[in-house]
């Protein structure tokens, strides 16, 4: 598609969508959001970019093949489940670390659940882009 407005707009929108997708991913920790929706929003950023400037440029901007991103995401999600083994607990039991916790304050909670969500984010992001790029290239 050859549209100056779209191209100019995409430059900002794509970046904004990617930032927003990370926000959604982290927000999913305790509120609506999470890896799936974050991945979708992030993929939208690149889809928009692909529509504006073409899939070849979008692939170049992504640097890595989207399929590989999805598979790495699967690996990360699996790892998040396997981490429970280090603590002698069943597969996929959430492991929590409270950074800087005090008597009154919980501190910053970090968990393998978040790692799993990052994996989901990457799987969704990669899978959507794989499909969309393939479709765009077919047409």
């Amino acid at each position: 598609m050859n549209s100056v407005i779209l191209k100019a707009g995409t430059r900002y929108l794509a970046g904004l969508l990617l930032v927003f997708s990370v926000y959604m991913l982290l927000r999913g920790h305790n509120e609506p959001g999470g890896g799936f929706i974050g991945g979708l929003i992030g993929a939208t950023g690149f889809v928009l970019y692909a529509v504006a400037v073409g899939t070849a440029d979008a692939r170049a901007a992504l640097r890595v093949e989207p399929q590989s991103i999805a598979m790495v995401g699967l690996g990360i999600a699996l790892l998040a489940g396997l981490l429970a083994a280090l603590f002698g607990q069943p597969f996929f039991t959430g492991q929590w670390l409270f950074l800087g916790a005090t008597e009154t304050d919980k501190g910053l909670p970090l968990s393998t659940v978040l790692v799993f969500d990052v994996g989901v984010y990457l799987v969704v992001f990669g899978a959507i882009l794989t499909l969309v790029f393939a479709m765009e290239e077919e047409i």
Binding site: S68, M71, L74, F92, T93
Partner: protein, 498 residues
Amino acid sequence: MSWLLAVPIAIPFATAVFAFLLRNGAAGRWVSVAGSAALLAASAVLMQAVLAEGVVAGQMGSWPAPFGITLVADLLSAVMVVITAIIALAVSVYALADIGPAEERLGYHALFQVLIAGVTGAFLTGDLFNLYVWFEVMLISSFGLLVLGGRAEQIDGGVKYVALNLVSTILFLTGIGLLYGMTGTLNMADLSIAVDGADQGLLTVVAMLFMIAFGVKAAVFPLFFWLPAAYHTPAFSVSAVFAGLLTKVGVYALIRMFTLVFDHDTGLTHTILLWVACLTMVTGVLGAAAQGDMRRILSFHIVSQIGYMVLGLALLTPLAIVGAVFYLVHHIIVKANLFLIAGVADRLTGGTALSRIGGLYASAPLLAALFLVPAFSLAGFPPLSGFWAKFLLVKAALEIEGWVIAAVALAVGLLTIYSMTKIWAQAFWEPHPEGREPRLSDLPAGQRWAMLAPIMALAALTVFIGLFPEPFVAFAERAAAQLLDPTDYVETVLGDRG
């Protein structure tokens, strides 16, 4: 304990990740082989534990049953996982020769390993919704494998395959929704208790939904049409693993649900299953007789053989369940092997259409001998594994004085011999129509052994089971006893509530 159950699912996933990232070199295929070998080791350990301690259950994520996802292995699950691992190893070795670099770059090995993960997941899960998820994992990866390469014929078969399987999925989900609405639980062990208090009429409706949903997966009459349309199109290693494992997951799900949960009105449900089983046997074998392509014949035989397994479930006597379990194990080994042999025949003679190939007996007697083992076993010749499988089922039918059923089972066995003879006569006995003399030594040595070693191993396994059936029958008896009296299963799953 719970790790024993998680590892057989985690290994194929991890293998898939590495195989995909390394897909552009030779390393990817060796990762796949190594992953399958590791899976075999893990499943052997699991089997050991189940043999020693009875049913093993684990609560994933430490969420107690029935709220979390439970993985559970009884003897049937454990033996299915072991067989899955054996087939995975055989096929991933075979794929070294069968799958070209182009398909590898598209991610063949990763898809294959994800498929295996789906299969082991389906065998090990103790949660109905989780079973649905594994079905979908299998469906997506098998669809990917089916259309890999993208020939029109493949896509045509693939679309039929996916459309019918999605309909089955939708029925399955509807059944899940109804069951949840009725009982408030989806844990299979919990369900087996909870259904006693439910509306029995509605429960029968749900049982029918599940029968149709799993029936499509298992390819029983009259829901099998997708199978012959799809199985003859992909690469041979793909159709071998499909033939061996995919439909058997449906049979497994049928056996699991109709012994554990839906045993309230066996007079109705299992009578329907009995009819379905007989019609499946007959249509499958007749369909095979009308075909002229090696892979299509074998595909129809899958359908007919599924009938035997469902027959075992439908009769629901201890001996019949023993027969069904034995048949499952025997069939997976034999069927996968026949497809692998068809792959070698295709490589040597340039096709699988029977009218266009031939001469294999004269030029490749080793392959001919290797074909005879699973072919006779499939037809039920002593002393091969198929004989004992059929013997157990026919005996079970005679015990309840089901003369017609026994006669059907025997007649179908005869017709199976007929189509095996057809393959034998046209592909092996008659000379090649173009006068080619295909020799095994024409293949490069590495490829030759990558293809023949798995075939020989599987054939040896068939012979071994046939010659020494006692431990296997004894094992099947124990597995059947667990299925018919699920107290241990239920207690192990729910006992971990703690």
